[in-house]
């Protein structure tokens, strides 16, 4: 399994976390896992929607100490 890349998008607002994830996604290989950290709840909801829409996979999504973690896998 490849290392999971952390995309630290804390303290930025919508759609900052999504844009940072996508920029990292472009550089990732198919099968790679990325974990976005966000303090913006809207983004925590919106990122899984985007992942579903474009056909990647959400592995997990949870809040830990006020920070949302959304873990995704690049599928294509």
């Amino acid at each position: 399994m490849s290392d999971r890349k952390i995309v630290d998008a804390k303290n930025t607002f919508c759609p900052g976390p999504l844009m940072e994830l996508i920029a990292s996604m472009k550089q990732a290989e198919v099968g790679d896992e990325l974990e976005v950290l966000s303090t913006d709840e809207g983004s925590a909801n919106d990122i899984p929607e985007w992942i579903k829409k474009v056909g990647h996979q959400v592995l997990d999504s949870f809040n830990e100490n006020g920070v949302w973690h959304v873990i995704v896998r690049k599928q294509k």
């Binding site: 759609p15 900052g16 999504l18 844009m19 996508i22 919106d46 829409k53 474009v54």
Partner: protein, 129 residues
Amino acid sequence: MSNKVSIVVISGDREQLQMAAMLASVAAVSGSEVTVFLSMNAVRYFQQDDNSLAPAEGEVGVLLQNKNAPDFRELFQSAAELGDANIYPCSMALDILKLSTDELVEYIGEPLGLTKFLEMSSDSQVWSF
């Protein structure tokens, strides 16, 4: 629903520019073909080396600046670089402002007239700000 999104931006107010940029960037990275037409008071914010703040219309605009929201210019740039967005300045607005395309940021395309924009957007969703 059409997968083409056209966005007309004429306002020079922060909230309007921000919302247009958010819509453009999210649509572009979600697989839509996005066309942005910048005219009237919006154009001046896309000059090179100009990071001047657009004035806030209201409370949220003031808060946006203090809350580390991405700058609207960064979002338009992401739309063009990460997704399928083309951003065009209005040729009339450039004439009035005496600006050439060379003076605009590099992710902005060639000036567009209304006839061409109407043709390009005829089968798309159209949003205006």
